[in-house]
């Protein structure tokens, strides 16, 4: 292989690494800046409530419908497996644990990333592309406090609530299929669930997960919007990066959190 080809390759790797490290550095500084402006941002409570409405309330349809169907499918599949071992009465607890520990936070997080995260990125990116953020700066109003912080906290607050609603509708969907459709005993369905679900281990850990996923999605969304190239293509790429980046981060963080939270399962 000619030396110039090797040198070109090394140069590209070096340039790529430098870009990645620079972006990581900017992302870190951005994170601290957003957290630093959070008090100022939360003082504008009406803006944060507005963002909870846009990120949370407007995501309700997709979250509730998805939760219902995931719960129903989980009940059908779970019943098919559990009855082979004569444990169909455990359907309630299986569905509840699956939803509270994993599916609720993770699927709600993925849906939140694609529904609300992408919208946040596109909105901030377009504000940047149309000079609205610059206009705000020139009016002596910090966009981090006025635009970014309310959206960030709106997402962080919304996510655990959405995950809880997802799990609730999932359990309800499983009840419809397991009890009303298949004919399981409702007492066993609810009783086993109550006995098998631990508030600290399962419910609280699920809430912690959904809070962490909310932080991840919101931070990725506001950063990608703020860092987007101020063009149509730049905003489009940033929106895609938000969905892909936050989805992969959720799955990776879920593994790490699960390792720490449920060490009793043999890890």
């Amino acid at each position: 292989m000619p030396a110039s080809t090797i040198a070109d390759g090394l140069r590209r790797v070096g340039a790529g690494t430098r870009r990645a490290v620079t972006r990581l550095g900017f992302a870190s500084r951005f994170t601290f800046a957003v957290l630093g402006h959070s008090v100022e941002g939360l003082r504008r409570i009406r803006l944060t409530l507005r963002e909870i409405y846009f990120a949370g309330a407007l995501s309700l349809v997709i979250i509730l419908v998805s939760g219902l169907f995931v719960g129903m499918v989980l009940a059908l599949q779970g019943y098919d497996i559990l009855q082979r071992y004569g444990a169909s009465e455990s359907l309630g607890v299986m569905v509840a644990l699956s939803l509270l520990r994993e599916l609720g936070p993770v699927v709600a997080g993925l849906l939140f990333a694609s529904r609300a995260g992408s919208a946040i990125t596109a909105e901030i990116g377009l504000m940047k592309a149309t000079d609205q953020l610059s206009a705000m700066e020139m009016m002596a109003v910090d966009p981090l406090a006025r635009v970014v912080a309310p959206r960030f906290w709106g997402g962080v607050i919304s996510m655990p609530l959405l995950a809880a609603l997802f799990s609730t509708l999932g359990v309800f969907g499983a009840y419809l299929v397991g009890v009303k459709l298949i004919g399981l005993d409702p007492g066993a369905f609810w009783g086993n669930m109550q006995a098998g679900v631990d508030f600290r281990e399962d419910v609280v850990n699920g809430i912690i997960k959904s809070f962490v996923f909310g932080l991840i999605v919101s931070l990725v969304a506001v950063f990608e919007g703020y860092d987007a190239a101020p063009t149509a293509e730049g905003v489009s790429s940033a929106t895609t990066r938000t969905v892909v980046g936050s989805s992969l981060s959720i799955l990776a963080a879920d593994f790490v959190l699960t390792v720490f939270m449920f060490r009793g399962v043999g890890v």
């Binding site: 377009l126 504000m127 149309t130 000079d131 609205q132 610059s134 206009a135 700066e137 020139m138 009016m139 002596a140 109003v141 910090d142």
Partner: protein, 283 residues
């Protein structure tokens, strides 16, 4: 061309500094290989309407961003109302910006707010005025630009000219000492263009402010400004009053004013010889 002294100082402009904006040998580049501005020196007296003219990408808007503190010069001094802008900390810069109104190229109106809310925005952010007082002030500003009847509209319902006038009303909402206009005439029909031009001049005189217009619209600018700077490739290549510009024989000024395709600013950008490009050989 000769450099004329500042003209038409406004009697109603009562701020303490006679020079509203001063750029002294300012150089700016995004990195060492991309020099955007070189040795820019200009002095804008209070009360003046000054145009910075030049072709697209010549560095005009960069000058506005340096004045507003959005960029810092690599070398030289940027002084606004006696304060060195690059040396200001965040609070100092924001305090200065409260004294500056800026109109962006396409208005940069907040699309999630109505026209009324857009103009009320700086008042709400920086004053403790009652809602009643804010309402009156907003309607007065809108009336000044002839759009009091559009207060309830959203920006997407406005024409380009109307959006520019709303942005103008927002820029003067806090009665600034300095107004910066980035391409205020771009993309406007002749009527809107004339309206915006006259509004800039009238508001400047009525409010006693200083206006800096970045534009490439030579005819409209000559009607309303006191002084013009011509920028090409990051340098000031000519300057003067409108009368001096009209009478100028400077090749760059003539090319710009007469809209000639070729001249000091060449039609073709640097490229290999045509014959070489098409492999045409003599004989």
């Amino acid at each position: 061309m000769t450099l004329s002294p500042p003209v038409r100082p406004s009697a109603s402009f009562d701020r303490s500094h006679t020079t509203a904006v001063e750029l002294d040998n300012v150089t700016f580049g995004y990195d060492r290989t991309r020099q955007v501005l070189s040795g820019i020196t200009m002095s804008i007296a209070r009360g003046q309407v000054v145009a910075i003219m030049g072709g697209s990408g010549c560095g005009k808007t960069t000058i506005l961003r340096l004045i507003g503190g959005q960029l810092r010069p690599s070398e030289g001094r940027v002084i606004v109302a006696g304060q060195s802008v690059p040396d200001l900390d965040r609070d100092g810069l924001y305090a200065l910006r409260r004294e500056i109104g800026m109109l962006f190229q396409f208005g940069a109106l907040f699309t999630d707010m109505t026209v009324f809310e857009n103009i009320a925005f700086p008042l709400r952010e920086h004053t403790d005025l009652s809602e009643e007082m804010i309402r009156d002030l907003v309607l007065m500003k809108l009336n000044a630009v002839g759009l009091r009847g559009a207060a309830g509209l959203v920006p997407s319902a406005l024409s380009g000219g109307m959006a520019r006038r709303v942005a103008l009303a927002r820029a003067i909402a806090l009665d600034p000492m300095l107004a910066l206009y980035d391409e205020p005439f771009a993309g406007l029909d002749p009527i809107s263009l004339g309206i915006v031009g006259q509004l800039i001049r009238k508001l400047n005189d009525a409010l006693g402010i200083t206006s800096v217009i970045v534009t490439h619209d030579v005819y409209e600018s000559l009607k309303i400004v006191d002084y013009l700077y011509f920028v090409s490739a990051g340098r000031i290549v000519a300057q003067g009053t409108p009368d001096e510009v009209r009478a100028s024989s400077d090749p760059f000024v003539r090319q710009f004013v007469d809209g000639e395709a070729d001249g000091p600013v060449p039609f073709h950008i640097s490229a290999p010889p045509l014959a070489e490009e098409f492999s045409v050989h003599a004989g």
